[in-house]
């Protein structure tokens, strides 16, 4: 039985936007007991569709035409008050960012309890009793404690469980999930996906699941709708869409999904270019009258990067992989151990270290100064190192061409570039110093999947051409498999296991590596 049906829905964008409609002529439906995945890259209109179904369109957006029905009832005909009574009770929603989606000043128990108090008029005691039962239902380790906890006392995965408990509190007919696992670590993501699937099956809920990740689609979808620039370009059962995609765009998206199969092993140079031995780093919160609670971010870490090769450092948040990257480029000091490049210790002077190691950063929007021209930011390093200004600017143009940008673009400001182009500028900036070692800290995790593939291809090409040695930091095993020769798996500041990537993936020695590989969504579908 169809629970939620959207037909011919068109939503107008405010004047001055890059296109007239956020979504155009979108038709979708979800039946009871079914999971519909709506897939698309950023700007595809998938989140707007979800907000429209909740009646929570952002200000400035308006429905131009089309209809929405909930179990046969026309939603657009409802008064605002009637629609409000439906929200939460008959259609519920789970959002992307678990860190900000809960009120920081209210206990978890009261936030969940609000569902019964508002919709059913229950008293505080009864609402609390039911909130406790709901927290038990989402398998939180300590439901009584969670009930009285404030959101900041829970981890991201725990908060997302709380959000799910809250959304399913009144057993709604329809549950809309807007990228609910995107901000989570891969093992947590696997648990949350399993939880959603289990609860959906138990209650027969119709689920509309919005995601950009085909791995997640393969994991949980019954049916799939692919959106692009506000339109549905393809729709069908999960099997049809994933194995025999009809639309060219779907095919391109599927091709861009990195396969887990590592590349054919290359002959590696026996010569180490970067050696890290027993590196230890502890964070201490400092302050005159504050308590100190040290956190060990790196605990005697030893890894080796061979000349001309790529070493992937893989781990979940808090594993210490980013701290390692920042130590290697000299942004952070360490307490113990050593970092050697070409056999010599990493110099402490910033200018000397700059010629040996360079870094590509994660967020392409934060890694360029918005108020300076792109070319100047690429050239400033060589200029500081003594290259004449005109020469450095000429080199910057050549570098722009090398990373696939128009050399004339050196005179533009960062906001005139797309995310993928900015990441190319970041790579050009790092290469301008002609470094011995390139550290790439999650260089593609903020990019759409199709752009991700292009940037990875660029890195691989540059490595072949320039013989770069790359320390590649990532949380994503599939991305690591794309261009790494060797891999080191980190957890809680310790290297769990290291070795040639093919061997580690085929026969992991550590339980943790095994669980990481098992948690990759859509593993069976995208084995390569």
């Amino acid at each position: 039985m169809t629970r939620l049906a959207v037909e011919g829905l068109t939503i107008r964008l405010p004047k001055g936007a890059d296109r007239p409609h956020a979504i155009e002529d979108v038709t979708l439906s979800v039946a009871a007991g079914e999971i519909l995945c709506v897939v698309g890259e950023s700007g595809s209109g998938k989140s707007v569709t979800a907000s429209a179904a909740m009646g929570l369109l952002a200000p400035g957006l308006a429905i131009a035409q089309g209809s929405m029905t909930l179990s046969g009832e026309d939603l657009r005909a409802k008064s605002p008050e009637a629609w409000r009574a439906i929200r939460g009770r008959r259609i519920a929603m789970v959002f992307q960012e678990p860190m900000t989606a809960l009120n920081p000043l209210m206990t978890v128990g009261r936030q969940i309890g609000e569902m019964w108090r508002v919709h059913m008029g229950l008293d505080a005691r009864e609402a609390e009793r039911r909130a406790l039962a709901a927290l038990r239902g989402v398998n939180l380790p300590d439901p009584e404690g969670a009930l009285r906890a404030f959101p900041h006392e829970l981890s991201g995965g725990q908060r997302q469980r709380v959000m799910i408990a809250m959304a399913l509190a009144l057993e709604p007919e329809v549950l809309i999930c807007d990228e609910p696992t995107t901000a989570l670590d891969v093992t947590t993501q696997a648990q949350v996906l399993a939880l959603i699937k289990e609860l959906q099956r138990r209650h027969g809920t119709a689920v509309m699941f919005i995601t950009h990740d085909f791995g997640v689609v393969a994991e949980i979808a019954d049916r799939v709708a692919v959106m692009r620039l506000g339109r549905v370009v393809e729709e069908g059962t999960a099997r049809e869409v994933l194995t025999a995609p009809q639309h060219e765009y779907t095919r391109a998206l599927l091709r861009a999904v990195p396969a887990l199969a590592p590349p054919v092993p290359r002959a590696l140079s026996p010569d180490p270019v970067l050696e890290i031995r027993g590196l230890t780093k502890t964070y201490v919160s400092r302050g005159l009258f504050r308590r100190r609670k040290p956190v060990r971010a790196l605990d005697a870490v030893s890894v080796t990067l061979r000349r001309g090769a790529t070493l992937a450092v893989v781990g979940e948040s808090g594993s210490g992989k980013s701290t390692l990257a920042r130590c290697v480029v000299g942004l952070l000091g360490s307490e113990g151990g050593e970092i050697r490049i070409d056999g010599a210790p990493l110099p402490t002077r910033r200018r000397d270290a700059a010629r040996l190691v360079q870094m590509v950063f994660q967020d392409p929007y934060a890694s360029l100064n918005p108020r300076r021209r792109a070319g100047a930011q690429v050239a400033q390093g060589p200029i500081a190192a003594g290259t004449p200004r005109a020469q450095a600017l000429r080199d910057a143009r050549a570098l722009f061409a090398m990373v696939g940008l128009d050399p004339e673009a050196v005179n533009r400001y960062p906001h005139e570039f797309s995310g993928g182009q900015r990441q190319r500028i970041g790579i050009a900036r790092a290469l301008a110093m002609k470094p011995t070692v390139l550290v790439a800290d999650e260089p593609v995790s903020a990019l759409d999947v199709s752009v991700q593939a292009q940037v990875l291809a660029l890195l691989r090409e540059l490595q072949d051409r320039l013989g770069l040695s790359i320390l590649f930091i990532t949380h994503d095993l599939r991305v690591a498999a794309q261009l790494s020769d060797e891999v080191a798996v980190m957890r809680n500041g310790v290297v769990e296991e290291a070795g040639p990537i093919g061997e580690v993936f085929a026969a992991p020695r550590s339980d943790y590596t095994r669980s990481l590989i098992a948690a990759i969504p859509g593993r069976a579908m995208f084995a390569g």
Partner: protein
């Protein structure tokens, strides 16, 4: 360019600019409008506005022309406002940027000093400074600048603290650039817009502080200050209240102009807040 267009679209900014421009014209042209000493005897004391066409705004208890004092007072208010604000902004940016960029011990020490200034009521500190160094127009202006910098320092520090960890600053660091480049070329240009907007608040407060000081007859008695005139009018408040009322309106309009310009700058420079959502 985009910022300028946004600025001109805002009605608040337009009204504010017009008011401020009028005050500026008054101040700059004061010697041309009223070439005689505004503090000299002009006619019979306490003539109501409109009573005598020679004195459109009337005369004060000493028989001085109120209109002349208002026009010349504009120059004093703007001058004190502008110079004191510059002093406060320069000190504030210097302390705030060092504190925010380096953190650690530098931050602790500089913030203790800032806190000390903020714990002390600023008007009280102003009184002490005037008591110690006397009340010429120069000392008063400098004293106002000295009591006004702490909020600027705090704002600059907060901006620096978020900006210094941004990837583009880290990237410049990795490129081997020195601290001076990082502070002046990377962080400061991005930290400046909110500080510029806040400068309008500093200027409004500076003008208010001077007029309050002059009202208490603790500012320079030898310059035609609006606050001075309000203080003089106090003695005849019960009957000739216009003597106090007119200069007060002048202060109100000037502060209003400064605030509106600040609001327009804010809308233009921080577009995210401007939309109101």
């Amino acid at each position: 360019m985009r910022a300028l267009k946004a600025y001109l679209r805002s009605p608040a900014a337009l009204i504010g600019s017009v008011i401020l421009l009028a005050v500026l014209v008054m101040g700059l042209g004061a010697a041309w409008f009223y070439p005689n000493d505004p503090l000299g005897l002009a006619g019979r004391p306490l003539q109501w506005p409109g009573q005598n066409p020679r004195f459109p705004l009337g005369t004060d208890p000493s028989g001085r022309d109120i209109a002349a004092q208002i026009v010349h007072g504009a120059r004093i208010s703007l001058l004190i406002g502008f110079v004191a604000t510059s002093i406060a902004v320069v000190i504030g940016i210097a302390i705030g940027s060092l504190s925010g960029f380096y953190g650690g011990v530098v931050d602790t020490v500089l913030m203790r000093v800032t806190e000390a200034f903020q714990t002390l009521p600023n008007f009280l500190l102003l009184l002490v400074l005037v008591a110690v160094f006397g009340s010429t127009i120069h000392t008063v202006t400098i004293a106002i600048g000295i009591v006004s910098w702490p909020p600027v320092a705090r704002l600059t520090r907060a901006e620096f603290m978020t900006l210094r960890t941004r990837d583009f600053v880290q990237a410049s660091r990795v490129q081997g650039l020195g601290d001076a480049h990082l502070i002046l070329r990377e962080v400061l240009p991005n930290a400046l817009p909110p500080v510029i907007v806040y400068a309008s608040v500093v200027m409004a407060v500076a003008i208010l502080l001077e007029s309050a000081l002059a009202f208490l007859q603790l500012s320079d008695p030898n310059v035609p200050s609006w606050g001075n005139l309000i203080g003089l009018g106090r003695n005849v408040l019960r009957s000739e209240w216009y003597v106090s009322a007119i200069p007060g309106l002048a202060i109100l309009l000037t502060i209003l102009g400064v605030s509106l310009v600040g609001q327009g700058l804010n809308d233009a420079l921080n577009p995210r807040l401007a939309s109101g959502r």
